[in-house]
Amino acid sequence: MSIEAVFRAERGRVVASLIRMTGDWDLAEECVQDAFAQALERWPRDGVPHRPGAWLTTTARNRALDRLRRAAVEATKLWEAALLTGPDEPGDDSGIRDDLLKLIFTCCHPALTLDARVALTLRTVLGMGIAELARVFIVPEQTMAKRLVRAKQKIRNAGIPYRVPPAHLLPERTNSVLGVVYLLFTEGYARHGLTSEAIRLAGTLTELMPDEPEVLGLHALLLLHDARRATRLDDAGEIVLLADQDRSRWDAGRIAEGLRLLDTALRRGRPGPYQVQAAIAACHVTATDTTDTDWAQIALLYGELARFTPSPVVELNRAVAVASAHGPAAGLALVDDLTAGGALAGYHLLPATRAELLARLDRTDEAAAAYRDAIALATNDTEQRHLERKLAEIA
């Protein structure tokens, strides 16, 4: 493993341990940075240590101790230094895993804004640089730095506890963590590079909370979705629909891992929205083509999903599945209900879906009108061009 890869893999754990030991986020991050600098000097000469994470934690800890001793004129600082020399040896893996989980839960505390949670998690847990974060979120570096400072200030000043929440808060707080990971992933499609970070974080959570079925469910969902990434756009960057994707190019390794995780999750008998979404993705990736796909099962699963998270977008997806399972007329009836409801007004996929179903029913004029509505509402060029091609096909 390259030194760079070791840093990426270990940074979250090392920072988490240092925050627990010092209670000071900034000091922790600075000392970890120092430890990395030392490693860059020594490892090429002496070789990568047997347990690089423990080496980095000890080095950062010594650095923190050093700095606190030097600054230990005040009683509080002495107390902090005393904490550092406590019995908690960084060699204990269970403690380190617990530290990382504490860090993740604290970064995703619901008293912080969603933006702050996402930025803090990417920075502190995954070690993304401020310049990179600023680029991903399309804000000036200064703004991003300020956002992080403010979030850390609130954690300290408002007394947000550095811990894994107790049992009565755990389900709600776990949802907050999973929400951040899911957002990273969905945003990741538009913003290059975040999908792999989201999957990495989901993997860490699976490792830390193997008994939480929704954690495994989300991890499975991300893997099963990402398995199709290479086939979503063609060489020219145009959208390729599921039906036309080259299934031989789907990532078999990711699919196998996703299915295994989903299976483990479902066996716990505590279903939830991420498991249901993963089950839907599993129906797609295990079919040889769209006619072989179990659309009736998918329609049922969307019904189930609507029970957990009622939303008109879920209803629209259910309508598409119903159309594939029971014919375009059945799907169109649901789409027309949604149109009448008005909740999705302005959402281009509503008229786009309607157009598709009307075309299948040979109601060409109405289909063309619906495509034109969809084109007017589409928010990006790729989608607009895709819809224009569909319109040209039926005209």
Binding site: A158, G159, I160, P165
Partner: protein, 107 residues
């Protein structure tokens, strides 16, 4: 840590009749609530500003809004999670809002 709970309600808000009553809430926070009180109506407030040598008075609260501060409770608890739990069980959290403000730490 000490937190001030600012109890905010809208004019004319009615209690829902669900959840703990104020008496039950006071029992629950026994030992954690240092002091607190309901306020008289914002109509009875006087706002004071000193500018130079002049003391300026305004009849009413410092900001005229639909929501007003109806009372306060000062609590001393372990952390924000505990403060949030206590705030969430205050009867006015159901009909209005409770702002949880940490007090500046004394060094």
């Amino acid at each position: 840590m000490k937190y001030m709970l600012l109890i905010c309600v809208e004019r004319g808000a009615k209690e829902t009749g669900e959840g703990p009553t104020i008496e039950q809430w006071l029992d629950e926070v026994e030992g954690k609530r240092e002091h607190g009180s309901a306020f008289m109506s914002p109509n009875d407030a006087t706002t004071v500003r000193t500018r130079g040598d002049e003391v300026l008075l305004t009849d009413g609260p410092f900001a005229e809004t639909r929501e007003f501060i109806a009372g306060y409770d000062l609590i001393d608890v372990a952390d924000l999670d505990e403060a949030i739990r206590i705030a969430s069980r205050h009867p006015c959290a159901r009909i209005g809002a409770v702002e949880v403000r940490p007090l500046e730490k004394e060094d």
